[in-house]
Amino acid sequence: MKLSNFVRKIRDVCPPDCSACEKACAEKMGNLGPVINAGQVHKAGVYKAITCVQCGNPACKDVCPNDAIVKDEESGVVRVIQENCIGCEACTEACPYQNMFFDSNAKVAFKCDLCGGAPECVSACPYGALEYFRGGTIRGYLNDEEYLSPGTRACAGCPGELIYRFSQRILGSNTVFFGCPGCMTILMTGHETMAGSRLPYVSCLFTNVISTMTGTSRYYRHIGKEANLVAYVGDGCLSDIEFQALSAAAMRREKLIVLCYDNEGYQNTGNQMSSTTAFGSLTTTSPVGKELRGKDRDSKYMPLIMVAHDISYVATASPAYLEDYARKLTKAMNVKDGMSYIHILTPCPTGWGFPIDKSIDVGKLAVETNYFPLWEYEDGILRLTYKSDKPQPISAYTKLISRYRHMNEDELQQLQRLVDKRFNKLGLYSQSFRQKEALRT
C-alpha cells in the first residue's frame, strides 16, 4: 500500500494578483521556469492538487522511450533525469494533469520534484493557502497488517472506529486493548458475539478499566512480558465514572497508554450529557425549553487535568489530522515510564446530528476554530502542535451541527468567550513554559 506526497491547496484565500508561489518556484527552478501556475492556483478548488501529484503509476514514465523518468520508491517522487531526456515531448502530452513541462531552448522536460521534501511554494505563500500533504509520511508510521475486521457494528461514518483502526495499525500486534461499556464495546465485541478486531480486547466495567489494566501490567511484569496496554474508552467513562481510578493510576506512575475518544456525551445510550459536553449542547438530559437552553455550564477540560497530574505524556488529537495523531501515539508508545494520555475529539454523526460524510470536516473545523486546539505536553513543556493562522468564529463550527441549532447570538458569543478563554489559557501555559526554558538556557 503506497501513499504519495504532493502540494495541495487548503484554503480559498488567494487574491488573483498574488503570484508568490510562482515566483518562489521560478527562483528555485532557475532557468527552466516555474512548474506551478499562479492563475491556476487561484482557480483551483480547495483540496485540489496544484502541482504534480507524483502518481503511483505515472503515465509520463510509461510513455518515455528513453527511461528518462523514474519514480523514487522511497519518497514517491517522480523525477526527470535530464541527461537521458531526448526532448520528444511524449510525456507532456501523456500527463493527464498537465503538470509535465517542456523547455524548448534546452529541449528537456521538467516537473515538480517537491524541492527535495520542503516545497518552496508552500513556505512562500503569504496566506497559508497551500499545504504539503505528506501521505507517504503517514504511511511510514503504520504496520503492514490490518487488525480491524470489517463488519463491526459501529455507525456509518464513525471517526471513533477510524481512530481505533488507525491506532491498531500504529501499535502493532503486541497490544492488549481494554474498554468499558460504550460505543467501542459494540465495535470490539459486538454484544459478546463478534470480535471486531484481531487484537485481544478485555471488556471491563465502567469503574474498573484502569484497575484491570494495572493488574494485567503487574502480572506481565511478574512473568517478564512486555506489551502495550491500551485503554480505548470514552469521555463518559474517563471524565465522569472512571476518573478516580484514572487519577490514582496516574499518581502511581503506571505504565499505561490511555486513549480517550471524546464524543461529548454518552452517545452509545442515546446522547446523554457528560461533563465534557460543550456549553449550549442539546442532549436528552439537557433539553431546550423554557427553563433550560441546552447545557448551561462549560465543559470539563480533561487533558489539562491530566497535565496537572504531571504524567509522562499528554496530548490532544483529531481524526482530521492523522499524521499529527500518528506522531503523538508513537511518542506515547515509546514512553519508558509512567502514563501517557491522548484525548481525541471524535465527532459523532448520530448523536450530534450532522451528515455521516462530514465527520472529518467537523473534526477539522473544531481545530480551525480553536474549539479543540491540538497540543502536547512532555517533560514539563506544553507545546501547541497546530496553530490556525486565522481562527474562524465558533459559529462556523456550530452551524454544521444540529445539537447547537437552537443557539442565539448571545449564547454563541458566550460559547466563543469560553473557547477563547480556554485557548488563551493554553497559550499562557505554553508561553510561561517557554519563558522558563529560556531562563534555564
Binding site: G151, G157, T189, E192, T193
Partner: protein, 97 residues
C-alpha cells in the same frame, strides 16, 4: 458462529462471554446498511490512498493495478472517502437493488 445477537440462546454463549474466534465480525456483512455506494473514476485517481486511509471500516482495498475499490460486503456507504478524495475521483451513487 456469527449470527444476529437476538438469535442467540443464553447457553450458546461462552462462560465470561469470551469470543474464541479471532475477528469473527467479518461474518456479519454490513453492506446492506448502505444507501449510497462509492464509485471510483480510475482516470482521475492519483493513487494517493487517502480513501484507504480514512475508511473507518477497512473496507477499501487496493487492486492489482494499484487502483482502489470498496469491498461492498462491508462498505457502510458513509461517504467519507468521497469527501476526502482530493482529486474528486470518487462519487457516491445511489445503490440499486
Amino acid at each position: 458462529m456469527a449470527k444476529p445477537m437476538d438469535q442467540y440462546k443464553w447457553h450458546e454463549l461462552n462462560v465470561g462471554c469470551v469470543i474464541e474466534e479471532v475477528g469473527n465480525a467479518m461474518e456479519y456483512k454490513t453492506g446492506d446498511w448502505r444507501t449510497m455506494k462509492p464509485v471510483w473514476n480510475d482516470a482521475k485517481c492519483i493513487k494517493c490512498g487517502l480513501c484507504w486511509l480514512f475508511c473507518p471500516d477497512a473496507a477499501i482495498y487496493q487492486n492489482d493495478e494499484g487502483f482502489y475499490a470498496a469491498n461492498l460486503d462491508y462498505c457502510k456507504g458513509c461517504g467519507i472517502c468521497a469527501k476526502e478524495c482530493k482529486p474528486g475521483a470518487i462519487t457516491m451513487v445511489e445503490e440499486e437493488r
